[in-house]
């Protein structure tokens, strides 16, 4: 910036002005009103889509931004486990698009069926053209053993997308008798929110301990280990009880083989377990639209880690749970962070510039009880063409953290929740 004089600033700008008329041609100006710098269409108004919309508008309010999202309200998955624990209301995890609209973001409530070279096809609103498209559809589920998208809404909620299923699962817990059995089955890797199942177990255990203390939770996990395991196990032993016949029993490397849906009986390993509340979280894959649009390789969408542009389709950027951004996990924090990187890359591209050098962070807070919080975090950089962990950064909160620190951590987790949702949906 040192030799950046006003004179060459004007020269550069003159060139940029020329490029605006010549370089971008009508694609930038197409479909947009005077002064527009291009048109961005975002599929999915979840954490990724909402954050990207805000940050594009922050950078250049002249860019025309449209979100396509079927629902009028978004319920955050994160902290929805606290609803299950009876520590939070559904209303507190409900967000609208009003603040985004006030920023000038257009919202079309519809389902996108396919993303094509320069347009998104919708169910009811025809085709919506774009210069750049962001796809952030979250995850889709690989249902097994008779669990389906339909009976998940009425009987066998996975509640791995917050909303009606969160309420259904909460109701099932409320109407369960004291002495009942809750069976929770975490999915295989990779899935959204690695510490999520253990956080859910903690929150449900909190509810049972205070309301139905004779009840128990049996986890049936196909995996050998899970995220923040040491901290969760420590917390479960301290606040609940862990082991066979205890409040929480965690079975590793055991997969559900069969489900009798009528009686909620599962066959797992050598056992048949009759559940009163059955919460099977299916394995996951990219959102349906990603498959329909040819954005996937295997179950997920490969992207350029500097920009999040799809490696399968130019001008289309996939962020959040659907993208392959490992070593970043599939989390809301990661997705919010990725959205800003993609937004910066898109704004730069629409101005004929190179994408700026990115930076990313992830954090997942979990509340084992309302006064015992833990965290895992990581800072990531872009090196050798891909996302990498910054050595020495991040990691788990300390197992030796004082009670005071753990109490503060829950307060910090709630601040994180207020702030990340403000950063995505505005307030």
């Amino acid at each position: 910036m040192s030799n950046f004089t006003r004179r060459n600033f004007l020269q550069v700008s003159g060139a940029a002005a020329a490029a605006t008329t010549v370089g971008f041609g009508h694609s930038v100006l197409a479909g947009s009103h005077g002064g527009s710098k291009g048109k961005v269409v975002i599929v999915g108004g979840g954490i990724g889509g909402a954050t990207a919309a805000r940050y594009i508008k922050y950078a250049d309010s002249k860019i025309d931004v449209t979100i396509i999202e079927p629902n009028k309200h978004y319920y955050t998955c994160f902290t929805s486990n606290e609803v299950l624990g009876g520590n939070r209301s559904m209303d507190s995890i409900k967000f609208s698009y009003e603040h985004l609209k006030k920023m000038g973001v257009k919202v079309i409530h519809d389902v996108a069926t396919v993303v094509e070279a320069k347009q998104v096809v919708t169910q009811k609103n025809g085709k919506v053209t774009f210069d750049k498209c962001i796809v952030s559809p979250g995850v889709d589920f690989k249902f097994m053993h008779g669990q389906t998208a339909a009976n998940a809404e009425t009987d066998l909620p996975h509640a791995w997308k917050a909303g009606s299923q969160t309420m259904l699962l909460r109701k099932q817990l409320e109407s369960m008798k004291d002495g009942g059995t809750v069976v929770i089955s975490p999915p295989t890797n990779p899935f959204r929110c690695p510490p999520g199942p253990a956080e859910r177990i903690s929150q449900i255990a909190w509810y049972l301990k205070n309301n139905k203390p004779k009840s128990k939770i049996i986890a049936i996990d196909p995996k050998a280990k899970f995220s923040k395991q040491g901290l969760f196990v420590q917390g479960w032993k301290k606040h609940y009880s862990l082991g066979e016949g205890k409040m929480i029993e965690y079975r590793h490397q055991t997969a559900i083989e069969e489900i009798d849906i009528k009686t909620k009986t599962v066959v797992a390993g050598v056992d048949e377990i009759k559940a009163d509340v059955l919460n099977v979280i299916p394995a996951q894959k990219a959102g349906k639209i990603a498959f329909a649009s040819g954005l996937t390789e295997g179950d997920w969408c490969p992207v350029n880690h500097k920009t999040f542009e799809s490696t399968k389709m130019k001008n289309v950027y996939v962020i959040g749970d659907s993208s392959v951004a490992s070593p970043m996990p599939k989390s809301g924090y990661a997705c919010n962070s990725q959205a800003k990187v993609a937004a910066a890359a898109i704004v730069a591209a629409l101005h004929g510039k190179d994408a700026p050098h990115p930076s990313y962070v992830n954090t997942c807070y979990s509340a084992i009880t309302p006064t015992d919080g833990i965290s895992v975090s990581m800072v990531y950089n872009f090196a050798d063409g891909k996302i990498g962990k910054v050595k020495g950064s991040g990691g788990l909160s300390s197992a030796d953290a004082s009670e005071e620190e753990r109490k503060r951590t829950v307060k910090y987790a709630h601040s994180w929740f207020t702030n990340i949702t403000a950063d995505s949906f505005g307030r």
Binding site: F9, S13, T20, Y55, K353, H357, T363, A401, A422, D423
Partner: protein
């Protein structure tokens, strides 16, 4: 220059200015991220552009760059106690920390109105003027003091911060430590409470 061309250049000027801020004006050549790009990653916890909506994570917007830089470096070295900032700060070089500090120092500070006890706040003002105003002037809203913003900062955070200074978990500047001791001797724990209510009463 005709009107149309002038308008075009004006448009380009504004958008280039906006863009260069967003892209950190490196044009993608340097292999480090701009202060804004780095700072964006903090917003998930500290709020959009560093203004926190609470209830406990502090607002970092509008502080002096030196204050922010020093604090981050203290987290990084372990000199400042933290639940998570140590883990985060270790992810950045000192140059990256300086770049972020520069970015957040330029963001407008939005003091947060909070639920507080008016009588306690009134008493707190007197205590502030007596013990703290010298280094935290204008009720602790002058960034140039490089001593951390107080009025409008989140009350639970101030409570934690002051508890840590008093317990010795965090090191207060010598003279501040003396003032805190004096305050505690004369007013007891209630004195600190009153100060916190005063800072929470900012509009």
């Amino acid at each position: 220059m005709n009107l149309k061309k002038t308008m075009l250049i004006t448009a380009a000027l504004t958008s280039t200015a906006a863009l260069s801020a967003f892209a950190g004006s490196h044009g993608g050549k340097t292999a480090t991220a701009s202060g804004e790009m780095l700072g964006n990653t903090c917003a998930g916890c500290h709020g959009p552009r560093g203004n926190s909506f609470g209830p406990a994570i502090p607002t970092i917007a509008g502080n002096a760059a030196t204050y922010l830089s020093d604090k981050m470096k203290a987290y990084k070295s372990g000199d400042a106690p933290s639940s998570i900032m140590g883990n985060i700060a270790k992810g950045y070089s000192d140059a990256e920390i300086d770049a972020m500090a520069g970015y957040f120092s330029k963001q407008a500070y939005k003091p947060m109105a909070q639920k507080h006890d008016a009588a306690m706040a009134k008493a707190g003002k007197k205590l502030h003027d007596k013990y703290c105003e010298k280094c935290h002037s204008e009720a602790g809203t002058l960034a140039d003091d490089e001593s951390g913003l107080l009025s409008g900062q989140w009350m639970p955070y101030l409570e934690y911060s002051l508890a840590d200074f008093q317990s010795g978990a965090a090191n207060a500047p010598k003279k501040m430590a003396t003032k805190l001791k004096k305050l505690h001797k004369k007013e007891g724990a209630a004195g600190i409470e009153k100060l916190i209510h005063y800072y929470g009463s900012a509009k």
